[in-house]
């Protein structure tokens, strides 16, 4: 049974702004599931519905087997939520933040103390436990936030853009910690607009744009669907090699331009040695080789016609985002 089950989920804000147009997906127990899309795509709305913060306009969503609208308290007990805006309490120390959280989740005192120590250790904040959070850096706050999300042993952890605005080193640390957690059996649901994050961290990714899921799958499969890896070769006799390569079954496409060969294949790492063997047997010298793998951005372009990289959205989109932001603040 999937741990998160979403069926035809719709959300319309203020009767006019459509944030979700009816999405469906499942998250299996134990996986890291990514929600990849640009700002305003509906990622946060989805997470808020799953975390019982917003009610859907239509469709249904189940978390840990409980309907989020009918049994919100059952869902709340079983999930951890790391919001997009850092929301740990600035005026409390790290330990006080965790203590408050533990109390709100009704953890008994001895378990509370044990888990707080454990979490401080896990996120590397043990030395700063007694410092006020307002003295923390962005990465430290984020880590404290994650520690809070995990404190009560949730079955699923929802993270809304957990690495937004962080430096590369902090991002790596957080990824490392999330992988570690996942190994211990926590299902992780993460939204992001960073392709590398979705690619390197997630077992499966859903690509969402304008309130619709455009594609779901393992990052590798999604990328292979785009067309596969591109190998670029420089040789002393490209035409001779090209002729041979075109006759091989695992080559999808090959062209030669000004002595440079462009070869499209399924998996570049496996094909390169084979190409070298062919070249040697033909007596062709390979001067240089490079492998270009498709990114999830290419996948995004394929399904939406736009790049994730350029965040240029038209006026209507911006207005929608504004309304959603406004709504979220209230």
């Amino acid at each position: 049974m999937p741990i998160v089950e979403v069926r035809n989920l719709k959300k319309v804000y203020n009767g006019s702004v459509t944030a979700l147009k009816g999405i469906s997906f499942d998250v299996e127990e134990g996986e890291i599931f990514g929600f990849l899309g640009p700002n305003g795509a509906g990622k946060t709305t989805t997470v808020h519905i799953l975390c019982t913060l917003t009610t859907p306009t239509g469709g249904s969503a189940k978390v840990c087997g409980f309907d989020v609208v009918k049994y919100p308290d059952e869902v709340r007990r079983r999930i951890g939520f790391v919001p997009q805006d850092i929301s740990v309490d600035d005026e409390l120390t790290a330990r006080e933040n965790l203590e408050l959280h533990a109390k709100l989740y009704h953890m008994p005192k001895d378990l509370r103390e044990k888990k707080i120590e454990e979490m401080l250790e896990l996120v590397g904040l043990k030395e700063r436990a007694e410092s006020l959070v307002k003295t923390f850096s962005g990465g430290m706050r984020r880590r404290l936030e994650i520690a809070e999300g995990l404190l009560h042993n949730p079955e699923v952890l929802f993270l809304d853009e957990p690495t937004i605005g962080l430096d590369p080193a902090s991002r790596m640390t957080i990824w490392e910690q999330l992988r570690e957690l996942n190994k211990e059996g926590v299902t992780i649901f993460i939204t992001t607009h960073y392709m590398d994050e979705a690619d390197r961290l997630c077992n499966r990714v859903a690509i969402i744009d304008l309130g619709e899921i455009k594609a779901i799958g393992k990052p590798n499969e999604l990328k292979e669907d785009v067309g596969g890896d591109v190998i670029i070769l420089k040789t002393n006799d490209s035409d001779k090699l090209l002729e041979r390569l075109l006759s091989l079954p695992f080559i999808k496409e090959a062209t030669s331009q000004n002595g440079t060969l462009r070869v499209t294949v399924g998996s570049g790492e496996k094909v390169i040695p084979l190409i070298f063997e062919e070249a040697r047997s033909l007596g062709v010298n390979i001067e240089s080789v490079s492998l270009n793998k498709p990114t999830l951005d290419d996948v995004f372009v394929k399904y939406t016609g736009r790049s994730l990289r350029d965040e240029k959205t038209d006026k209507i989109e911006r207005f929608k985002q504004y309304m959603i932001m406004k709504r979220r603040r209230r």
Partner: protein, 301 residues
């Protein structure tokens, strides 16, 4: 529900003890009132009463002069009652209950700001994701507002005593005064929370609160007896919860009757009037609690 509310309240109290500037300013402002108004008005009333200015400055003086004044002025029964009631005590004695009331009001009425901050910083969502009854959030914050109001009220009471205001009813009167402070604290706290839950930014809340606190303050009888106000202002005064609080505090702390030739100060004499105040405040507090609860329920699913 109560347990969770206590956790929410505990967090707010932790915040409170770290807000050094706010604590100091919330205590200094009433002291300024007490000293500036309390003493300067004392001189005026002493001029009327012909009492030695110095003795008034030290702590006010009960004078028999007002009694003769009312006779001399050939005053109507109402006027004579007012003069006897209020000129018999120093203005500081009269005024400090009002300052306590206003301090409690200000402490509570701005507390809704914390909900707005929490919404802005996402902490509110964190509370909403937790498996706790929704209302415990509002209850906890209202509890905090009340506690804060009580703390500040007690501090001002102590300081008033130190600078010479008199408490004529002993500990019993102080205990009763605390009950009244608690009542208004709950009501105004809930009122402020319901504003906080409805409004999106703190400027709007500040605007609304400033708009209503000044009239409440002036018409409350903290500065001057309600009986001496023009008729239209009296109408406002009797619709103002603060009026009942200030009157109740004054009765609790000074006892009654506070006339020059009155009986020894006691709470028994004022019991009926205290009951009236208690009923009026209960109605206000009950109404605000219900409205606050309904608004909170409506906004937070």
């Amino acid at each position: 529900m109560i347990k969770e509310a206590c956790y929410v309240c505990e967090r707010e109290l932790r915040h409170f003890i770290r807000m050094k500037v706010q604590i100091i300013s919330s205590i200094v402002t009433p002291i300024v009132w007490l000293v500036f108004f309390g003493y300067s008005m004392n001189i005026i009333s002493s001029g009327l009463g012909g009492v030695n200015v110095l003795s008034v400055l030290i702590g006010g003086e009960r004078s028999i002069f007002p009694y003769f004044l009312t006779l001399a002025l050939n005053a109507t029964p109402l006027q004579s009652l007012i003069i006897q009631n209020y000129l018999g005590i120093s203005y500081l004695d009269f005024f400090y209950s009002g300052v306590i009331g206003v301090t409690v009001m200000f402490a509570c009425v701005f507390s809704g700001i914390s909900i707005i901050w929490d919404k802005r910083f996402g902490f509110f969502n964190k509370l909403l994701v937790a498996p706790i009854p929704r209302l415990s959030i509002m209850l906890g914050k209202t509890m905090y507002a009340t506690i804060r109001g009580l703390i500040q009220g007690v501090i001002i009471l102590g300081l008033s005593f130190l600078i010479g205001a008199r408490i004529r009813t002993g500990m019993m009167g102080v205990a009763l005064a605390l009950v009244f402070m608690l009542m208004i604290g709950l009501g105004l706290g809930a009122f402020s929370m319901s504003l906080g839950i409805k409004l999106a930014d703190q400027e709007a809340l500040f605007g609304i609160i400033n708009m209503i606190t000044l009239p409440l303050f002036i018409s409350s009888g903290a500065f001057m007896p309600v009986e001496t106000m023009p008729g239209w202002l009296q109408v406002i005064a009797y619709g103002n919860p603060l009026t009942y609080l200030v009157d109740a505090l004054r009765l609790c702390l000074l006892g009654g009757p506070y006339s020059a030739l009155g009986f020894p100060f006691s709470l028994i004499d004022v019991a009926p009037r205290l009951m009236k105040n208690l009923v009026a405040l209960s109605v206000f507090t009950g109404t605000f609690l219900v409205i606050g609860t309904l608004l909170f329920r409506g906004s937070v699913k």
